[in-house]
């Protein structure tokens, strides 16, 4: 009991501190930007050609961080697979999914994959990008896992996609290093902003990240389902 009271007080204090920050800084967006942020907002479109400036920060200005994040995700997926390897669920009677669930998910699955594709192709124009798109695709696979009697994606294909996408990401970075003397430089033509074929390598990188995250998350879910 006393532990809960102490925990409550700590949480309350923390919330009060956060609230006081918000109360002081509430008129956000009204101050002039300074330093790097001002450069990103003013010069972002003409330098990198992406209408959605967040994507050009994520994939180009801070692209190396994104590579690190993808690596962390890869390590997490590999570690989970290693941990769960050899664990096998005992066979028992399970209630089967109904016809309604099976039919709906069967018709919805291609639409979900299409929607994920839309998100990562439009990453540089609308909100979204590789990571949400990959997660959407993985959720589509999860939908099939829970509502179909027999559904098993090929494990070989999943890990092949994942490894191939990861390698391709590093190759894109090295291409920038070779042609423009900086890792992940924007070496492709920028095109006209606000069109699909613009922003140089951003769509390419987002397609790669979408495939990679999608296959990794699906792999995690498949491992967890079997364990």
């Amino acid at each position: 009991m006393i532990r809960k009271i102490i925990a409550f007080l700590v949480v309350f204090y923390f919330g009060y501190i956060l609230y006081s920050f918000i109360a002081v800084n509430f008129p956000f967006g009204e101050r002039p930007l300074k330093g790097v942020a001002a450069h990103y907002v003013d010069k972002g479109i003409e330098e990198e050609g992406a209408t959605n400036i967040v994507t050009s920060i994520v994939t180009l200005y801070r692209g190396f961080d994104t590579l690190g994040e993808v690596t962390v995700l890869f390590l997490a997926a590999t570690g989970l697979g290693l941990l769960l390897a050899g664990m096998k669920e005992e066979e028992k009677e399970k209630p089967e999914p109904t016809l309604i669930m099976e039919t709906t998910t069967r018709y919805l699955f291609p639409l979900v994959l299409l929607f994920g594709t839309y998100i990562f192709i439009h990453g540089h124009l609308t909100p979204g990008g590789g990571f949400p798109a990959g997660v959407v695709i993985a959720t589509g696979y999860f939908m099939m896992f829970i509502a179909q009697k027999q559904f098993k994606p090929s494990e070989y294909l999943l890990s092949a996609t994942e490894s191939f996408a990861g390698t391709l990401y590093v190759i894109m970075g090295l291409l920038g290093l070779a042609l423009a003397f900086s890792f992940l430089a924007n070496v492709m033509p920028l095109g006209v902003p606000n069109t699909v074929f613009s922003a140089g390598i951003i769509p390419v990188i987002y397609i790669i990240i979408g495939f990679k995250v999608g296959s990794e998350m699906t792999g995690i879910l498949a491992h967890l389902k079997e364990a």
């Binding site: 089967e96 999914p97 929607f115 829970i146 509502a147």
Partner: protein, 90 residues
């Protein structure tokens, strides 16, 4: 401000939605069994989709509709998964 006022209607509308959220929250906290809470979560999910669309209207940005679309497509997955867990078929 990026959004404009649509008269009294919008105030009434937001008030109705907030009352709906409040009632669902009461059912979520008080619900005697787990399926009650799942139903409350389902309703909250649908209301969230609507709130996202209405926020896109307030901010006058068409691209915000994408977020609502994500919930409209995927939100039922969680509910179906929990239902399958309850009946033991996950």
């Amino acid at each position: 401000m990026p959004y404009e006022i649509y008269g009294l209607t919008v105030y009434v509308y937001v008030g109705l939605i907030m009352l709906g959220v409040l009632f669902s929250l009461v059912r979520f906290v008080a619900g005697p069994s787990a399926p009650d809470r799942v139903v409350a979560t389902d309703i909250l999910t649908t209301i969230t989709t609507v709130v996202l669309v209405v926020l896109a209207l307030f901010f006058k940005r068409q691209i915000y509709l994408d977020v609502a679309l994500v919930y409209a497509v995927l939100a039922f997955t969680a509910v179906v998964a929990i239902a399958r867990f309850l009946e033991g078929g996950l």
